[in-house]
């Protein structure tokens, strides 16, 4: 396979590329779901191809091919060069790449049980037992248990000498149950609505406790249907990791993508309020309790790897330090524009996509001192919000609105009344500035997101978020109730 990658680079260079890199990717997935007492899906997919990125006259070009024959690879390399030449005619900007050490080596996700060696019957049996446990609860409408495994084998090389092989494995499983009446639909998910994925082997699937948790969330879905709607007001809120992860994702992860800051996503999901004048200028993003890092080395994270898709080694980059904005997610061509080295944040969804700046694992660091239970006990009057239900944020990542599956009243430090259709809204720096408690590591969880969207053509990336739970004051809740 390395011969194919080398051939692509040689052809690109012969055609006039000043720099080129190529990724040959073989992707393998399998998945199963059980719904309504029967196997709903049983599927397997395999895909392979090569993506070739070139720099010509200071402009990028990219072409890919699912045909790995020599002539097809040559044609793709030549097309990438032609595309770059055409692009160079429009605009005067010239790409400069921040230097990085030549990368050579191999990385493999640590797994105990290879998911592709474990018989699929084993996962179908587990899903069946979990689904039955949900369906046994009176009043549920639909019950679904799902499993998925992904392996991506990547061979990367560049004309400046890098040569890397990586094998990334992700495994996940989750539950979803709904209850409905004429006017309302309530849903509960576990472990998160994003699918319960981790960088791990099949052992992760069996560690989730799906069968044990199934009747609990089914009961909650039914209970939610008759719960009162969360009334509007300004409240103290305590976010469980199953909601906090997405708050981090939308209001810190995306706005710290430096390509977004430079406008390259403006025509799609927008730009960012974290403009470069705020870097190293003491801009207060949140309270002093807020420490957020991009860490591509976190065990189990979906954003964990050996090198990014530009051959930059995995590393930990501070984004917010004691509440002060301190860094970006970067690529080689954006880092050079702010005088920094790349933080190694570039990945592509597959062989047929251009590598872009993507979140790695964006983690809110735990704070010693209070457990999440302690924070609830320390809250006189507030709301406990758990499990994301929907999300929306403006095109500069300032005004956000989230909905959660579960809201419970906190009175005198104890959880009480259940509410349905809970929402909260705010402005990013004001919201994070109101954070007055972050839980310790006892509830710290790595949450996997498998549907982070970015780019045109669209790319759905796997990213991770570590967090333990946190409290925020004076937040608007019950929007439109």
């Amino acid at each position: 396979m390395r011969d194919i990658v080398r051939r692509a680079l040689d052809t690109a260079a012969q055609q006039g590329a000043g720099y080129a890199d190529a990724r040959l990717v073989q992707r393998r997935e399998r998945g199963a779901s059980v719904k309504g007492g029967a196997v709903e899906t049983l599927a397997s997919s395999e895909s392979e191809g090569i993506g070739i990125r070139v720099l010509v006259d200071g402009a990028w070009g990219f072409a890919s091919s699912g045909d790995l024959s020599g002539p097809a690879v040559d044609a793709a390399a030549a097309l990438a060069v032609r595309i770059a030449r055409a692009s160079a005619r429009v605009g005067e900007g010239r790409v400069e790449l921040a230097p990085r050490p030549v990368a050579q080596g191999r990385y493999e996700t640590p797994v105990q049980l290879d998911p592709f060696d474990v018989p699929l019957e084993r996962s179908v049996d587990l899903l069946t037992r979990a689904e039955r446990a949900m369906a046994a609860v009176e009043g549920v409408a639909t019950t679904t248990a799902s499993y998925g495994a992904l392996r991506e084998w990547k061979s990367y090389a560049s004309t400046d000498g890098s040569d890397i092989e990586q094998v990334i494995t992700h495994v996940g499983g989750d539950l979803e149950v709904t209850a409905a009446n004429a006017d309302d639909l309530q849903r509960r998910t576990y472990p998160e609505s994003s699918g319960g994925y981790a960088a791990a082997g099949y052992e992760h699937m069996e560690s989730l406790g799906l069968v044990e948790r199934a009747p609990i969330i089914a009961g909650e879905a039914v209970e939610l249907l008759s719960a009162p709607v969360l009334p509007p007001g300004r409240r103290t809120i305590v976010l469980h990791p199953s909601q906090l992860y997405l708050q981090i994702h939308e209001s810190c992860g995306h706005p710290t993508e430096l390509d977004r800051v430079f406008g390259t996503e403006a025509a799609y999901a927008g730009t960012s309020f974290l403009t470069t004048d705020k870097l190293d200028a003491g801009f207060r993003y949140g309270s002093p309790l807020v420490d957020i890092v991009a860490d591509a080395t976190t065990p189990g994270g979906l954003g964990t790897f050996g090198w990014d898709d530009e051959g930059v080694e995995a590393q930990r980059v501070p984004l917010v330090s004691e509440g002060i904005f301190s860094g970006y997610l970067t690529s080689r061509d954006t880092a050079s524009r702010i005088g920094r080295q790349s933080g190694g944040s570039v990945r592509a969804e597959g062989w047929n996509r251009l590598p872009l700046i993507r979140m790695t694992n964006i983690n809110l660091l735990p704070k010693p001192g209070m457990t999440l239970d302690d924070i609830v006990a320390d809250t006189e009057d507030g709301l406990w919000l758990e499990s994301n239900r929907s999300w929306s944020i403006d095109d500069r990542r300032l005004n956000f609105q989230f909905a959660t599956e579960v809201a419970r009243e906190i009175k005198g430090g104890k959880l009480g009344q259940l509410y349905r259709n809970a929402t909260y809204t705010g402005i990013t720096p004001t919201f994070w500035g109101s954070c007055d408690a972050v839980a310790d590591e006892s509830t710290w969880t790595m949450v996997g997101v498998t549907n982070c969207g970015k780019g045109q053509p669209g790319q759905a990336m796997h990213v991770g978020h570590g967090c333990s739970g946190a409290r925020f004051r004076d937040v608007e809740v019950g929007v439109g109730a």
Binding site: T41, S45, A267
Partner: protein
């Protein structure tokens, strides 16, 4: 894919089905998509990303009695297709019988649709996409703005074959030019065009429309959140058509009690008629779905009244009806969706829609919308790239963006007037064909800083 008469995709699908039968399948179906896609993005008045992709995907649905599995890959040589069939068969046999499964769909006559494919789109090259980007950028420079956006061209041959005799193949193409512009004074504007034939898209006109909005959006004023009468341009209306179709008009959503749908229920004003119409010549046509079933024109809402939902072969079998041709590629746990929403034009000239409004808002586009409450279709999102204050029937000022939290069912009940002109707009379900509309009230629930 070399040209629109090539049936290579169908031959691959038929070979794949034959190999599945050889591997012991009682029934089999293969979907093959042979595609060439290219997309050029621009930002800050220059091209920053330009990509091209070619691939052939094969998805095989293998049936063993009442057990079904799906395997897919992108290799089409005999050995790879045999391995695909073996992999699918092995998985199918792992599971218990599914009593709910009866059969793959049987063939039904497909009426050919003209205008699903255009040679100019298939033949578009990097230089022509760069020229289109350049035309938009020139328009931005003309008003001192920066242009951001894309020009895309895609051509594919889709084929479906099955052991029950389904054999459908069609070439389809699609092109889009889209632009957001911004300037230093807070001006921002949006425009896009979608067409089967890239030759039908005037990139300079896209640029001119976005540039005009940008110039008019400079120095926006701040308005408080609240309920306002609105005129929604087609770029915003597409979001309503998509979410209502997605949440309500899938037969699976109705089965699972997720939908508001009830045949004969009034949900919109008399002026609202929504059809799923894959033959609408203004859109991006298709004659069959990913199960090889003919696409039927389905009336979803007629003069405000719920009429029908869309079906795939599975929901149709359970309901005892025929598929409407809305199946997605297997495995498909999400059910059928109306992928070609078409909203009927009204009788009000577009430039007269704002006339009766004493104080309200003209909304160009929505951003990042999501469901708050599925059964009431309560959606939240932001306005973007063009929001204007209307007073006494005139646009009087640009306005900073607002967040809305609004039931889209209430929104279509509030429709007071529908514009004459319809345009193709790319939504999250596919290409929709929609007009502009005036609504008596729309609920804005938050503000932001730009």
């Amino acid at each position: 894919m070399s040209d629109h008469t090539d049936t290579g995709a169908l031959r691959i699908a038929e070979r794949s089905v034959a190999m599945a039968i050889d591997a012991g399948a009682s029934e089999a179906e293969a979907v093959v998509v042979d595609s060439v896609e290219a997309l050029t993005r621009f930002a800050n008045n220059e091209i920053h990303q330009s990509v091209a992709e070619s691939d052939v995907s094969v998805s095989l649905r293998f049936v063993d009695g009442r057990r079904v599995a799906v395997a897919s890959g992108n290799r089409t040589d005999d050995r790879s297709l045999r391995e695909l069939a073996a992999r699918a068969g092995e998985m199918a046999r792992l599971q218990p019988e599914n009593e709910a499964f009866t059969s793959l769909p049987t063939p039904a006559p497909i009426s050919r649709i003209d205008g699903a494919w255009a040679a100019a789109t298939a033949d578009a090259d990097p230089e022509s996409r760069a020229n289109a980007a350049g035309a938009v950028i020139d328009a931005a420079r003309g008003v001192g703005a920066q242009a951001f956006g894309l020009c895309s061209t895609a051509s594919e041959e889709v084929a479906v074959a099955s052991s029950l005799g389904v054999a459908a193949a069609e070439a389809r193409s699609r092109s889009q030019v889209l632009s957001v512009m911004m300037d230093a004074d807070g001006g921002t504007g949006y425009s896009e065009r979608v067409a089967v034939d890239v030759a039908d898209i005037d990139a300079a006109a896209v640029g001119a429309e976005a540039a005009d909005r940008t110039a008019r959006m400079r120095d926006p004023i701040e308005l408080p959140a609240g309920d306002y009468p609105v005129v929604l341009e087609a770029f915003a209306v597409v979001d309503i058509a998509d979410w209502i179709g997605y949440t309500g008009f899938s037969a699976l959503a109705v089965e699972e009690e997720r939908s508001f749908f009830e045949a004969g229920r009034r949900i919109g004003s008399d002026l609202v008629t929504l059809t799923d119409d894959a033959a609408d010549p203004l859109g991006t046509p298709a004659s069959f779905d990913y199960e090889g079933m003919p696409k039927r024109r389905v009336p979803l809402i007629e003069n405000g009244i719920c009429r029908e939902v869309v079906h795939d072969a599975q929901t149709a079998a359970r309901a005892g009806v025929t598929s409407t041709g809305h199946g997605l590629p297997a495995p498909n746990p999400w059910g059928p969706f109306p992928l070609h929403p078409s909203l009927a034009a009204g009788t009000t000239p577009d430039d007269e829609l704002i006339a009766p409004i004493d104080r309200g808002l003209l909304v160009t586009h929505f951003h990042y919308t999501n469901v708050v409450h599925p059964k009431q279709v309560v959606i939240t999102g932001m306005t973007r790239d063009g929001l204007f204050l209307i007073e006494d029937g005139q646009v009087v000022a640009p306005v900073r963006n607002l967040r809305f939290t609004q039931s889209y069912l209430e929104a279509i009940a509030n429709v007071e007037a529908v514009g004459i002109e319809r345009r193709a707009v790319e939504g999250f379900l596919g290409t929709a064909v929609v007009p502009a509309m005036r609504l008596s009230s729309f609920s804005f629930t938050g503000t932001t800083e730009h």
